[in-house]
């Protein structure tokens, strides 16, 4: 595999096993300016999300106490705090990005929105990976009737335009964080299953799989221990792209009014609430939240693209 060759080329001194994965990843990233630019954009938002307030170090924040609000750090204000008589302001020293209709600080809302989107997107992709990965492994490894049935059902699901899937699911179940995750998982799982299936079809003809079969290992063991680890390269790249799509989709859902219910500061909802004021000369809500979403998706795509290019170079 490309990953293994890379390790020997870059780190001949054979670092401790638990660091090897990270070192390999860094070695790949370092070579691609595209990937580094993407990484910087993503890390910026991760940093903002982590340190928007001091929640990480304040235990009362973790216990979910509704009385308690964490001390603002990077965000400077609480995202729900309304400043009386300071609605619809442009950027100023007081409010770096301006304020929204209710006089809430836009930078605080954007920073806390980063937290929401960076939590929901990886979670929904993670579930889609588990679900789609399992289906793909099973369909690819067993083949025959199982394959036919699983792939037919997934094809029918993929025939459904994704936006309609989101609309119908959220219209039926109502807008909430859980339903957003559910909708994105259902829409994403068939794609993962297809990829994993094709990788499995390729890998199951390898000698080490034949060896494991001869040893009498169970199909589940072979799928999880022999095939899955060897398919990880393309799956990781695909997952990075998928996190990008998920951010895209969560933003779009919020924009359409199907995201998290107010007063949640998710970026799509901020654009949705702010677009009414564009013609009235207050474009700030829509502009900042659009920029934030675009930069995060572009960052994730640059990262995935750069990594993919580097991996292909060594193939």
């Amino acid at each position: 595999m490309a990953l293994a060759e890379q390790t020997t080329a870059v780190a001949p001194e054979a670092p401790p096993a638990r660091w090897r994965g990270l070192r390999t990843a860094w070695a790949i990233l370092r070579r691609s300016r595209t990937a580094l630019a993407g990484l910087a954009m993503v890390l910026f938002w991760v940093g903002v999300a982590l340190f928007a307030d001091a929640c990480l170090v304040q235990p009362r924040c973790w216990s979910g106490d509704p009385e308690f609000t964490a001390t603002p750090l990077l965000a400077r204000y609480d995202p729900l705090e309304q400043f009386q008589g300071a609605g619809l302001q442009g950027p100023s020293w007081e409010h770096w990005l301006g304020t929204d209709r209710l006089g809430r600080d836009l930078w605080a809302r954007i920073a806390h929105g980063a937290r929401i989107i960076l939590l929901l997107a990886p979670i929904s992709v993670g579930i889609a990976l588990l679900l789609g990965g399992a289906l793909g492994l099973i369909a690819g490894y067993f083949g025959g009737q199982t394959d036919e049935i699983v792939m037919r059902l997934l094809d029918a699901l993929m025939a459904f335009p994704q936006i309609l899937l989101y609309l119908v699911i959220i219209a039926a179940l109502g807008p909430s964080a859980l339903n957003v995750v559910l909708a994105i998982t259902i829409a994403g799982a068939p794609g993962v299953a297809r990829l994993v299936r094709s990788l499995t079809l390729d890998l199951k003809t390898r000698d080490y799989v034949a060896a494991a079969q001869t040893r009498g290992e169970s199909p589940w063991y072979i799928m999880v221990v022999e095939i899955l680890p060897n398919a990880r390269g393309p799956i990781i790249v695909d997952a990075m792209l998928r996190v990008g799509y998920a951010v895209f989709a969560i933003g779009t859902l919020g924009f359409l009014g199907l995201g998290l219910p107010p007063p949640s500061p998710d970026w799509g909802s901020i654009v949705n609430a702010g677009r009414k004021f564009i013609q009235a000369g207050h474009p700030w809500d829509a502009l900042w939240a659009s920029l934030a979403t675009a930069s995060l998706v572009v960052g994730l795509n640059l990262l995935a693209d750069g990594v993919q290019e580097e991996l292909e170079r060594y193939r």
Partner: protein, 435 residues
């Protein structure tokens, strides 16, 4: 080829059938009921029951699925014993259902006291004439009730029971009124989705088809223009990038296309509005439609929606074309052609182009699913009166017939374009055609 086509068509029908069941089921399991969603949560249980009966919502799901797909007029015809017809009422500006006697007279029924049935006949000039029917119209059914099947004044097939003192609740402009002499059971008349009539919207009280098809045409117009703009541009730029692989042109085009594809439509739309409408003031930032012909009178309203829709597709198609071109230029037959000393122009036009375009052409058509998503966002952002916004509004208001009909229309479009993509691919690539 014929076998392939027939099999694909069968799959298509099967897929659509599964999708229709799924759509119906999801609308069915949605929490909160239709009556409360359409009428507000202040209604009384009697009003809710009356609403459900009048709209046939008290029937079992299978009955309602069949009525939704195949219509209910043929069922009503059997129950009533005369023809029923949907005719246009010019004086009200709407379509309505009437019963039709063998001599061609159109009629509806009503009763004031549950005893005397009236037949309201429609005259040629739109006026009406009331005929009082004798007691012989009541027929005894298996349970011993004396019943009468007819068409009520709202154009629904309805069953009156002799001596009933039921009241029907209707809401008109927010005020509730109760009408005595109500039927006991209703069959709302509709032709069914397969025959082009997916029911009446609970939100607007107008037939869904009446709104849906003009909206669909608007959307197709928008999508068609975007498609015509994107295709040549994306293919040309993609080929340019692919031929200059690794050079500055390629790097710039690749990065630009990645950014264009990755930026969500709502974000790029907001940027475009801010730049071209708020800042430069060149183009209108919203589509304002006051009449049918406004779009044609002010075509500049469409520029920003089309650019927004184009950007995301442009980047995508460009990237596919580029990688396809790069791949083709590395093949052995291109190397052979180069080594043979053919001029580069000839190699590209005769040897590379056809093979390089195969992937993008099919992928573009497969990308219709994605385009539909973009259309919903763009129509919402710019206020364009198309099907995308219609389906979103239907979803937000839980307008069951509207959302199911619009969803089915969009899925049909998506599935058919996928079939077309497959056919084109098979046609372009002989290795699959003869396999």
């Amino acid at each position: 080829m014929a076998v392939f086509l027939i099999r694909r068509l069968l799959y298509l029908v099967l897929t659509l059938f599964l999708v229709s069941i799924a759509v119906f089921a999801i609308c069915e399991i949605a929490p909160g009921n239709i009556a409360i969603n359409s009428l507000g949560n202040t209604i009384t249980p009697e009003q809710e029951a009356s609403f459900n009966a009048q709209n046939g919502l008290d029937q079992p799901p299978l009955t309602r699925y069949i009525r939704w797909m195949l219509g209910s007029d043929w069922q009503a015809r059997r129950l009533i014993g005369t023809e029923v017809a949907r005719i246009y009422e010019p004086e009200n500006g709407r379509y309505n259902w009437w019963g039709r006697l063998p001599d061609g007279t159109l009629y509806q029924n009503a009763t004031a006291d549950g005893e005397t049935m009236l037949r309201i006949e429609r005259l040629a000039d739109g006026g009406i004439r009331e005929v009082t029917l004798g007691p012989e119209v009541w027929q005894r059914n298996a349970e011993g009730f004396e019943i009468f099947w007819g068409v009520d004044r709202e154009g629904r097939a309805a069953m009156w029971v002799r001596g009933d003192q039921l009241e029907a609740w209707t809401q008109n402009k927010g005020a509730w009124t109760s009408v005595p002499g109500a039927p006991r059971q209703y069959v709302p008349l509709q032709k069914g989705l397969l025959r082009g009539d997916p029911g009446v919207s609970f939100l607007t009280r107008r037939p869904v088809a009446e709104t849906l098809f003009p909206r669909l045409l608007n959307t197709l117009l928008l999508a068609a223009i975007a498609f015509v703009v994107v295709m040549p541009l994306a293919l040309a730029l993609g080929l340019l990038a692919g031929l200059n692989e690794g050079r500055l042109t390629d790097r710039l085009l690749s990065i630009a296309s990645l950014i264009a594809t990755a930026t969500p439509e709502f974000a790029s739309g907001v940027f475009l509005i801010l730049i071209f409408s708020s800042w430069l003031g060149w183009l209108p930032g919203a589509v304002v439609v006051t009449s049918e012909s406004t779009i044609w009178q002010n075509p500049q309203m469409l520029v920003l929606p089309i650019i927004t829709l184009t950007l995301i597709e442009l980047g995508y198609v460009l990237r596919i074309t580029r990688s396809s071109m790069v791949e083709v230029m590395r093949t052995n037959y291109i190397r052979t052609a180069t080594l043979k000393g053919l001029p580069e122009r000839r190699i590209i036009l005769h040897h590379a182009l056809r093979n390089a375009l195969m992937a993008p052409v099919t992928v573009i058509i497969l990308h219709v699913n994605w385009l539909i998503g973009g259309i919903v966002v763009v129509e919402t952002l710019f206020g364009f009166p198309g099907l995308g916004r219609y389906v979103l509004e239907a979803a937000l208001f839980r307008d069951v017939f509207a959302i199911s009909a619009a969803t089915m229309v969009l899925v049909v479009i998506a599935v058919i374009t996928q079939l077309v993509a497959d056919l084109i691919y098979t046609w372009l690539n002989p290795r699959i055609r003869f396999a």
